[in-house]
């Protein structure tokens, strides 16, 4: 194994740790400095490296994680849109609605009208229901 490869492995593992932190603590006010600390890298390095590793910025990943949680709550609960917005970590209804529409392609209310989801192990639902950054959701 080369030194370069070992370095990539270490970096990947750190980025995964930061991504896990977003999956776990999505509802908290996560910011780049705290995530960079989880990954043990500088802030500038963190954003660039995360993107190189997972194909999107940490900010975008966190948005999708929050929106995915919101999508589920909209369809599985009768909590209000404002409650859900706050519960998944957004602090403004305007930002939430705009981000939701941008990511999902429809408003929270329109999404709610789709009704309940089929049951699958939650960790897989989380990974597969998460709205995509990679284009296929727009078809």
């Amino acid at each position: 194994m080369t030194g370069v490869s070992k370095a990539v492995e270490d970096t990947n593992r750190r980025m995964l740790r930061a991504r896990d932190a977003m999956d776990r603590a999505y509802a908290e006010p996560l910011d780049v400095p705290s995530l960079a600390r989880v990954a043990h890298v500088s802030e500038a390095h963190f954003i660039r490296t995360f993107r190189a590793t997972f194909g999107e910025t940490p900010h975008r990943y966190l948005q999708r994680r929050r929106v995915e949680r919101a999508m589920l709550m909209l369809r599985e609960t009768d909590r209000s849109v404002t409650e859900i917005c706050l519960a998944v970590g957004f602090t403004s209804l305007g930002t939430f609605s705009r981000t939701f529409r941008d990511v999902v392609g429809e408003s929270p209310t329109q999404h709610r009208a789709r009704g309940p989801l089929a049951i699958a192990p939650t960790c897989f639902t989380k990974a597969w229901v998460r709205p995509s950054s990679f284009g296929e959701a727009s078809t």
């Binding site: 490869s5 990539v8 990947n12 995964l16 896990d20 776990r24 049951i119 192990p121």
Partner: protein
């Protein structure tokens, strides 16, 4: 036709470290640990459940060419190779507390699901493990 699933495989980046983790921390027991000359055949299983083992395989030559092995290692480290293990327990909260005490990298706290209570963790390499206390 078929009877059972007897062995499934995941990639680990270091077999000694894998043993420390799966046996030392998660409480698996060794099924087989044998040097076959060309590879170390290393399986673990849950005590009391001998019918199903997990093969802890190290990616590397000659099974994989060096460049491919490097790619696999890098993918394992970013959690992208799959091979998720779904384990069960009688008490998710107690097991979570025990694993926390042992310094396991826990990724999700015990959470109520339609099928029971489960939580998540990573092995040292990036593999994803879930432990569920399922409704009977």
């Amino acid at each position: 036709m078929l009877n059972s699933i007897s062995i499934t495989q995941i990639y680990v980046l270091d077999q000694d470290e894998a043993l420390d983790f799966y046996v030392g921390k998660l409480g698996f027991e060794i099924g087989t640990d044998q040097d076959l000359g060309f590879m170390r055949w290393l399986t673990v299983r849950v005590p009391g459940a001998p019918d199903r083992e997990v093969l802890l395989e190290r990616p590397g030559p000659p099974s994989l060419d060096p460049a491919t092995a490097e790619q696999v290692r890098e993918l394992v480290a970013k959690g992208a190779t799959g091979g998720h293990l779904f384990l069960t327990t009688d008490d998710a909260h107690q097991t979570y507390a025990t694993l926390k005490e042992r310094g396991v990298e826990l990724t999700e706290e015990p959470t109520e699901r339609p099928y029971g209570i489960d939580f998540g963790l990573r092995d040292p390499f990036g593999n994803h493990v879930r432990i569920a206390q399922t409704h009977r």
